[in-house]
Symmetry: C2
Subunit: 342 residues, 2 copies
Amino acid sequence: MTRIAIDCMGGDHGPSVTVPAAIRFLAEQSSVQLLLVGREEVLRPLLGAQADHPRLRVVHASEVVGMDESPSLALRNKKDSSMRVAINQVKSGDADACVSAGNTGALMAISRFVLKMLPGIDRPSLCAPLPTSRGHTHLLDQGANVDCTAQQLLQFGVMGTALVAAMERKEKPTVGLLNIGEEDIKGNEVVKAAAELLRRSDLNFVGNVEGDGIYRGCADVIVCDGFVGNVALKTSEGLAQMLAGSLRDEFKRNWLTRLAALFAISVLNRFKKRFDHRCYNGAILLGLKGISVKSHGSADELAFGNAIRRAFDAAENRVLERIAAQMAQMTQLQPLAAEEVQ
Amino acid sequence: MTRIAIDCMGGDHGPSVTVPAAIRFLAEQSSVQLLLVGREEVLRPLLGAQADHPRLRVVHASEVVGMDESPSLALRNKKDSSMRVAINQVKSGDADACVSAGNTGALMAISRFVLKMLPGIDRPSLCAPLPTSRGHTHLLDQGANVDCTAQQLLQFGVMGTALVAAMERKEKPTVGLLNIGEEDIKGNEVVKAAAELLRRSDLNFVGNVEGDGIYRGCADVIVCDGFVGNVALKTSEGLAQMLAGSLRDEFKRNWLTRLAALFAISVLNRFKKRFDHRCYNGAILLGLKGISVKSHGSADELAFGNAIRRAFDAAENRVLERIAAQMAQMTQLQPLAAEEVQ
């Protein structure tokens, strides 16, 4: 039985989304136990017929971290927030993973403070899959670290490799380095040093990948600093929204185009479904001694359910053990590399 | 009469694309004179009936810079390349602007060496428009500088403002700073310092813009370092290609979807045309004492024609004078800011 703690108060919509998503996931997955964390008086009435479900438990937490609250203040002052109590469940061993759609900065700060880093990893990194023309890829970091050293980019490669190996049973996932050209001479100093570290590692490094390579599926894992990763991700979201909006506008232009839309609707729906961002919701905060999953704040029931599923899959597939094992394999390389780069 | 020098040998397709594009532009625009630079024995036969056109001149250059050639070697050794001779025309005053689809690194290195920087500008910056849901925006730098100081990001804001003011007659174009959150505390140290400089400048600074804000049209000019800008641009290209490919696949799935495509074809074509990347081809290398325009290497005739048009418009609208004037306005702020940031 895999146990997932859910911060039910987080996100733009709070319990009205998180609780129904949890109940649905419980029905779909028989080997999960859910701990719903939040104000008991708010959560209980939403449970309805599921209130006494044997695999469901409400864990009371009196406070809520605001979406715009300062992460450091949330860390210091809100010891009984639903977010913190959910993370505490992982720390105490009462849960195997936790999920929150709350304040990203606070989730990172509190997860790091409570769970601590795995040995050999400097900073946690946000990682989620993205669709590609061949399937999907994992980009990390997606925004947890604005500045990274070459050593940290190497660690992202290790963690991404472990994640894909564990979740998708790929023995040697390919790792690419996000850069502005495929040639070795391209990029800034950190990226060039990271390329050197990746080349010397025992990871399956395939070299530099340009921005368009993300969606061409050039590698299973693509590493970059969190500033670049976040810009790539948000730029993609913005472009996809603009294109979708424009396609909709074109089909609504007049009665003829509306008629065309009727004929094309099933094709357009298949297309829409294939790239539905809700199916890619749930970024794992990798590098901690516990699994903490960040859902998009605006997630709806379907999207939040996918974040719960990601937490469940990560726990089931023992991602943490895999990262630790991969790091152990790397240790003989690290001191050499670290000296040369610093 | 505006005179444009064209490196006819550059790009993936060379003269077979550049010469027809030039001839078509000549027919469309009566106040342009074109200098076609390259091997005379290659170019002449392609001119056909236009060989004696009064506004067309072939300027012989014996060498060609290879698409994969080292920029520093091209700069040092190929003094008679079509690229260098085209840039020389601008330097000598024989042309008002030059265009090349050749090797980006070489074009930047040679343009900078031959034309020199404008006073007060540290580094050249690649700038081209991108479509948005409201019209278009100008993102810079798109890849000329992998690392930037805050001061350089401010200079990009100044140059972008001057470009949009000159080309689009907007008196106070809005300027945004590409970042990973809208709040002031977000981003790395360089970005935070740049925000401070931009706030104090007399530019119309609207604050941080996230990746999705590019396509929402949050600002007329969006500044970022060339690494981030290049990743944003290429990621967008990759996503657009994947989505277009997938939409095509969905409409080709079976005879029913092919029938739907027939009904939807005019709508789809309008949609396609609206975001045709060829219409956005032609990045100006800003900050030099001369106009040098970089076309995509793979540009076809339509795309290359748009790069020629961008060079023509920049020269006609006196972009260089506008940048110099904008820089002069800024000088009283600069010393203060530079001290505080360094």
